[in-house]
Subunit: 148 residues, 2 copies
DNA sequence: CCGATACGCTTAACATGTTAATCATCCCCG
DNA sequence: CGGGGATGATTAACATGTTAAGCGTATCGG
């Protein structure tokens, strides 16, 4: 069987962990987890979004998102309302307080990202991301991998 | 600020999820989670290992490993004992039952891996893994990213 | 208008990720 | 040998991942 530690899932896991290890201390210092940051970050790129769309943007599953939104709302970092045309849908937007927090964290995050980019190489980083995107697309059709 | 969805952490996360989505149904069918599989898989490559080394092999944190080992032992899939020279150290090995399970799952996993490899390309896959490894190494020194 | 069905979101339940604290054993030095 | 610090592993506490179930609202057909 394939050398376990060299499998693709492990390679991806280790690489991602190596990257996130750089960011976590700063986020933690601001009282944010990685996922909370993803959500706030995604909210800065839109005026408001429906919960389902936000889940797609932040790449979170519904249940995780529900819990985190409850917490972020309690902390006053986001605002919620219902869509007028469809009361099932929730609409979320970032609050002024949330924006302020983002602005406080962003400089450090940008600096870390810049350091990573410099170490790895701008060109190489772009190439890596292109290859990761291609991998995603390659597998898009295989999704129905069921049973033996 | 950088387009959020194109950040390196998100690219890595999505790529890994695209890959794991292929494997999870099969593992689940055999009553294994991804992490349990990683542990059993790692145990097949050695006669026995100490817990700390196993954590490194399977890329799990100590607490996660402790919980999973407790479960795997209760299910009879692994065996544990203490190192004779140092009672603090635990030594883990896969049981015959565990080996049997691995052998039942392996064919499907190998087939899925082969399908992924074929879709993406053998050469391209190797290149991707090399780039991921290089990324890890690039960041190895930065680990002390503390505060702003 | 009503009821069956679908849809959006949340809650539930269990497993893992993450950091801090705890516990037992070891090791070194006085 | 004996006590204090170091080390290996587990437990604790909280947040998220993952799948299934539940709840309220929409929608459509009769």
């Amino acid at each position: 069987m394939r050398e376990f530690s060299r499998s693709l899932p492990m390679s991806l896991l280790r690489a991602r962990e190596a990257v996130m290890r750089q960011f976590r201390p700063s986020l933690r210092h601001h009282g944010l987890t990685e996922q909370q940051w993803r959500i706030l970050r995604a909210l800065t790129s839109v005026e408001a979004v429906e919960v389902t769309d936000l889940a797609r943007l932040a790449f979170l599953l519904g249940p995780s998102l529900s819990r985190i939104l409850r917490d972020l709302e309690a902390r006053g970092l986001i605002e919620r309302r219902s869509a007028e045309a469809d009361l099932r849908r929730g609409v979320v937007s970032i609050s002024p307080k949330g924006l302020k927090l983002i602005e406080a964290v962003a400089p450090t995050s940008e600096a870390i990202y810049a350091a990573i980019t410099k170490r790895y190489g701008v060109r190489k980083l772009a190439e890596l991301q292109a290859m990761l995107g291609a991998l995603e697309e390659s597998l898009a059709g295989l999704s129905g991998a069921e049973e033996e």
